[in-house]
Symmetry: C2
């Protein structure tokens, strides 16, 4: 086991006070900077040592053949993988001929701070070179929220204990050498040296490289310019080769005399634009950045983030670590999405190459619910990306003989990349997840243009898919057979409850929006017969329920499967998928991640309170949380069913997933959905935020049911709703609602409609918690959060 | 569409009267010679042109990494593929410097005959070289049944229309160049140049090559010797290189003067034996063959086959094509198994590289039922091979957390090679198939040594698997969840009827045999508690049945699935798996191949007559026969339920699978199981041969229920039973039973016990056929056999 870095607990920043090379890759992920378009991992400025060097552009990928020992109809032939593009953050340092590599010499101190309010990553190091000279290195780095194509670095070096000759090499590097990874040679070929050189340039302080990818045929340009500030005698020159363009600055520094370099980097990529236009595009973006200047970029960054936090912050009293974690989470969720502009939000954002840089359903189901209330324009942008992939999704539906569109389980540019068909061709719920994200964005923003256009298109094509995918039985019940729901320890099941409820919602929303925009619906060929067919299927949707147990079934027959033998499963055999076969997992009652529980979160109005409590307890005993997507959902339903201490433990698990590297893979990138889950656990769980059914049966009424666990004394959060900011201030016994601006608004407080204004805080008491027996988790799978008593050790005798 | 060769219809041979290069690869399969140890495809002597050159040794394979885009627990890492070993059949011919390549010059006539009674493939060709000289070429070839390591060729050339200088090059060739096949480069690497040279030798008329494989580490030796008969002046010399050892014979021939070469080839392979011992082994085998001589080999071959036919022949009157087909089938089934000697019987025998040379469940379920009655020693040998793989199968069961042994879905040497887990880890029925083959071999032969040893081991380990794989529900019913049955258009289902019935049989047989051999059972740790557990699980086995329809369900809930839309499926979309996804196939009522129907064939006593009739009709309407394993089973149940015309059509389909290349893949090798199915359709269908339950509840009483379709006037077949040969002579209205030898024997005639003797034929009348409505097949899937009215064309309007 590696030890994880100790990050200092601070409300508005993440501070690392030493450098632990064993967890360097993890720190590169948590200190990654991104604006949703450019992503720079938190690599050390000097390039090495590194865990995984990474500079990414949202959408830039290479293709590779997918290998199959036994292929089947509809298996995708080509995979896509996000590539490491031209790295613009490398600034190498030589001190008296010794390269500054922190593995050598002596590191006296090293501190990195990521400030969530300034959006700047700062670093201070004191290092004694192998030659004995001690220097102080500082750097500040940002990826600009306001200038989408731009990132910048200020790098400063200063000898402390005597004169030093220093050289700084500031680079653009393409095809960086990456750590070797085992695997299919054809997939590796897509990521090793993925860029073919087209143009290299270096003159005075200006650098440029243009490359393209071979199979995906994308052109990638990067340019840089510099401001050098050093003592007299400071000199610089620029050199370039096809894969490196470099500015070298040399200076003889007296003790205490600094050499300072400001580096502006601009990126561009396109599948269409020519070499000259790409060339001009990146040079132009750099010129604008130089004219704005470092201080100007920093000021704009702060202003952008001030606006964000004013409409998105969650203040937590009583647990400083959770306070830090939720802001860390919101900051990274924002970074993943802010300026994506009609591109996807990948599962790892642009923080690492985990999952090949693919986007999954968790964008719509975990990330968008947060962004809808904190940065709604980013939701519209990501849904416009889905919309742009409709032709591909329609083509895939045709291939499978279905109507409408069949969105991919995992992709970068829209084509299905899943080589595992029980996911790639059976996890149909992603289509309803997209539909629900669409409906909620519209409900939260009232964006009618979006509804008429992108929204209607997405709803109609997904509704058509469901209608053709399911069928009526002789009794008229509508079934959806053979699908895989959210729980990845089940697959290919009949009537997955979550899928069917979400499909029902999808069908009804499509009928509803089509009816409201008959002209546009007519253009899509949607008439009354079709919408009637959707409503009928929705009305007769099969929802499996075990009458004897009084619980919903995850899928038809699920509660009759053999229970997993949890007592015979040692703790080291988790995650189960690494120690047991799909065959055995799929046929038993064992749940990887929230499925019925997620259904109760997404479609709360489909369950009575008592059903929710029984369902939660039943599935709690089967759920092993081998997915980072589970804890936050369990937190919400634990809170709703009155298990506040348990909810708090799950909140901790979701919140610390990356900060404490709970799944041991933060090195590959952050779990953006689990980060979003921190907000979901707090706001959905302890705030009780849910969409409820309005008078017309649409789930468009926002409700709250606040209730805090013992550990927290106060939680204050702001959500954006129909152009207003609504602040909810939850205390131990009462809650206050107030608008920051705008016209009064009606929401629900524990089911009671209340009208909130900007004039005064509306105060309401918090009703008592219903008393219910504590649900049990599978052996050794109790959450280890601070709210929970310690679990008996696995070798302790059974009670 | 390619046209298929017209084979002359003859009762005891397969004669091809011309050479059609378009179907050369198919003819190479049907003219393949094998003894179960050596396999030589029916390639032209001169080596080229060829479809696929092939010389195989049972068990000789190379390994290669199996590629996975997304791997999972328990996926096999290594594949195995049968390789083309040293080719000993190549005899190249030069006529006045023109290589004899039938693609050039003019082929005046070409005839090949495979004689089922002599086991010799004869060829006669008259060819005019591009230089204008006409020669007559004859060859005869055999792979010896009596000298297991030996094959031999007589090759003769004679100018017709003037003198000719001829050269004959007789070769051993390793690493023959094969036609290029697309696919994974790492898998291709295993078959392209799979042999590494160790030794090459050529002196006087003797040739030898020894090679080894790299990853599977097998040593392969081949040696040859020759007898040259030519006019004065005939000269020869031998040359060799690492991959070719060659005898070159030259002669100047006057018209009508022949040059004749007799070539004896011997093979050996081993994972253990050293180079010198391999070298000696093949030289020794050649020396014995030379001493036996060609005529001696031919005589022994004839004698071996005479014995086989005396105990195995099926004579058919009324349909000459079926007569030929059933003998062709029996001949190839014998070739696949005769001298395997504790090796597997691959799905394609040793006739081609289809399915990578793997063995599947069809060995036990289709091939062994025939061999049990026609060549029982071959069954014992193939089951001993299974037995030899028990350590690997036990290890795999451990890996999956099960008791006992888990035999592979597809393999060459025992390790699982299926990269598709819904087959490779879920098609558990193979274990019961092996158990049933064991039980039937014992019932048919009374081989008690085998029962106590190999038999008990196989039964105990498979019973232990079933007991640990299934579970009791709260009502005490025993379920087996998540398995894949025979029908490959369904997968991962609960309580597959076939699997559960077969598992029941397996559990009972294990308990029965263990009880009969308590000492041996004790050595295996089997006690009364364990056998009681097996009997209990068997007694409470879930057998899904739909009360409303009065039919058994293929698996729990199957009859509630949506029916496949057959009317919307055009004929060109078959086989469905090439045009529809697993996702869609698995979730609908569509059946690739006999599953419930196979259950009724294998466990006839588990169904009433009326259930059989209803089940047959129900599944007939869903079964598309996209597998060559289906038609013969449907033939049997069609006959049993009184649909004799339909049974006859299915018999034709099974019988002509390879002779008419119905699935367009005979080029890759023969469908040995479907060939066996010809016998099953005739003897199981029109003979009604079945195992029935005896007094002690064991399925060990042989019964017949003969009944002919209109097209056939008489069928006479012989089966071997407990050391006797029983001849059943079926006419239109009566049937005669008579033993060829041995003590009297009691069998069932249409359910009535009758005692058959060697003294006189016992005559019995045939009861009338029950009248039942004709079952319907899915649109465009009616069998196209001669007994059936032509199907309406797909573009004809619906009735």
């Amino acid at each position: 086991m590696i030890t994880h870095p100790n990050y200092a607990v601070e409300p508005w920043s993440l501070r690392e006070t030493g450098l632990n090379l064993d967890v360097l890759a993890q720190s590169e992920s948590v200190f990654a900077l991104s604006n949703g378009h450019i992503g720079w991992r938190g690599n050390l400025d000097e390039g090495e040592p590194h865990g995984l060097p990474g500079a990414y552009l949202n959408g830039v990928h290479e293709k590779h053949p997918l290998p199959y020992a036994e292929a089947g109809y509809g298996y995708p032939e080509s995979g896509q993988t996000m590539i490491n593009v031209t790295d613009g953050k490398v600034i190498r340092l030589l001190v008296d001929d010794h390269p500054c590599d922190l593995r050598y010499g002596r590191l006296l101190s090293h501190e990195r701070v990521l400030d969530f309010r300034t959006g700047v990553l700062s670093r201070t190091a004191r290092w004694t070179s192998p030659g004995g000279r001690t220097v102080r290195i500082t750097s500040r780095r940002l990826v600009s929220f306001t200038q989408r194509a731009v990132a910048a670095v200020v790098y400063e070096v200063e000898p402390e204990d005597g004169p030093a000759s220093v050289a700084i090499q500031s680079e653009l590097v393409a095809n960086e050498q990456l750590p070797h990874v085992e695997g299919d040679p054809r997939a590796a070929a897509a990521t090793e040296s993925p860029l073919t050189a087209e143009e290299h340039y270096a003159e005075d302080t200006r650098l440029r490289l243009v490359h393209h990818t071979e199979r995906s045929a994308l052109r990638v340009g990067a340019a840089a310019d510099h401001i050098v500030e050093g003592p007299e005698g400071t000199r610089w020159s620029a050199q370039c080769e096809p894969d490196v363009s470099r500015l070298t600055v040399t200076a003889d520094l007296a003790p205490g005399q600094p050499l300072r370099l400001v580096k502006f980097v601009a990126y561009g990529w396109s599948a269409e634009r020519s070499l000259p236009s790409m060339h001009d595009q990146v040079d132009g973006a750099v010129a604008v950045a130089v004219s704005t200047g470092w201080d100007g970029l920093v000021a704009a960054q702060r202003e952008y983030l001030d606006r964000f936090w004013a409409g998105a912050d969650v203040a937590v009293e009583g647990d400083a670590q959770i306070q830090q974690a939720v802001r860390f989470a919101l900051f990274h969720v924002l970074q993943a999405a802010a300026r994506g502009e009609n591109r996807a939000i990948p599962a790892k954002g642009l923080t690492g190459t985990g999952y090949d840089g693919h986007s999954f359903w968790d964008t719509e189901s975990y990330v968008m619910p947060v962004l809808t209330f904190t940065a709604p324009e980013a939701v519209a942008s990501a849904l416009r990306w889905r919309h742009s992939t409709l032709p591909t999704a329609r083509e895939r539906a045709r291939q499978f003989g279905f109507a409408g569109a069949m969105f991919p389980w995992r992709t970068i540019e829209g084509a299905e990349c899943s080589a595992y068909w029980p996911a790639g061709t059976a996890a149909f719920h992603i289509n309803a997840d997209i539909a629900l994200a669409t409906v909620r964005y519209i409900a939260a923003t009232g964006d009618e243009d979006f509804e008429r256009g992108v929204g209607l298109d997405l709803l109609v094509d997904t509704a058509r898919l469901w209608r053709s995918l399911g069928h009526h039985d002789p009794e008229g019940v509508f079934h959806i057979d053979g699908v895989t729901g959210p729980d990845e320890y089940s697959a290919i099941a009949r009537d997955n409850l979550y899928t069917n409820l979400m499909a029902r919602q999808n069908l009804l929303a499509a009928a509803d929006v089509a009816t409201r925009h008959p002209d546009r619906a007519g253009e899509l060929g949607v008439g009354d017969e079709e919408t009637a067919g959707w409503r009928d299927a929705a009305a007769r949707m099969a929802l499996p329920y075990n009458e004897d147990l009084g619980v919903h079934e995850q899928s038809a027959g699920f509660t009759h499967f053999q229970r997993w033998d949890f007592d015979a499963t040692p703790p080291e055999n988790y995650p189960l998928l690494l120690h047991y076969s799909y065959f055995d997992l799929y046929r038993k009652q064992v749940v990887k991640q929230a499925d019925v529980v997620l259904a109760m979160l997404e479609c709360p109005y489909a369950f009575t309170e008592e059903e929710k409590a029984r369902n939660f307890a039943y599935y709690e005993a089967l759920t092993v949380r081998d997915s980072s997507l589970s804890a936050c959902c369990q937190a919400v339903l634990a809170a709703e069913t009155g298990h506040l201490r348990l909810a708090y433990a799950y909140l901790n698990e979701a919140a610390l997933m990356d900060l404490e590297d709970l799944e041991h893979n933060t090195r590959d990138g952050l779990h953006i959905a689990s980060l979003a889950g921190t907000w979901i656990a707090l706001v959905g769980g302890f705030g009780g935020l849910r969409w409820h059914l309005g008078k017309d049966g649409r789930p468009d009424v926002l409700g709250f049911a606040p209730r805090l666990p013992e550990a927290l004394s106060r939680v204050v959060f702001t959500v954006q709703l129909r152009g207003r900011r609504l602040k909810v201030d939850i205390g131990r016994t009462r809650v206050g609602y107030r608008l920051a601006d705008g016209e009064p608004l009606t929401v629900l407080h524990h089911g009671e409609p209340v009208t909130v204004t900007a004039e005064a805080s509306l105060e309401r008491p918090i009703p008592p918690v219903p008393a219910r027996p504590e649900p049990q988790q599978p052996r050794s799978r109790r959450p280890q959060g601070p709210g929970e008593p310690e679990e008996p050790r696995p070798d302790a005798p059974e009670q």
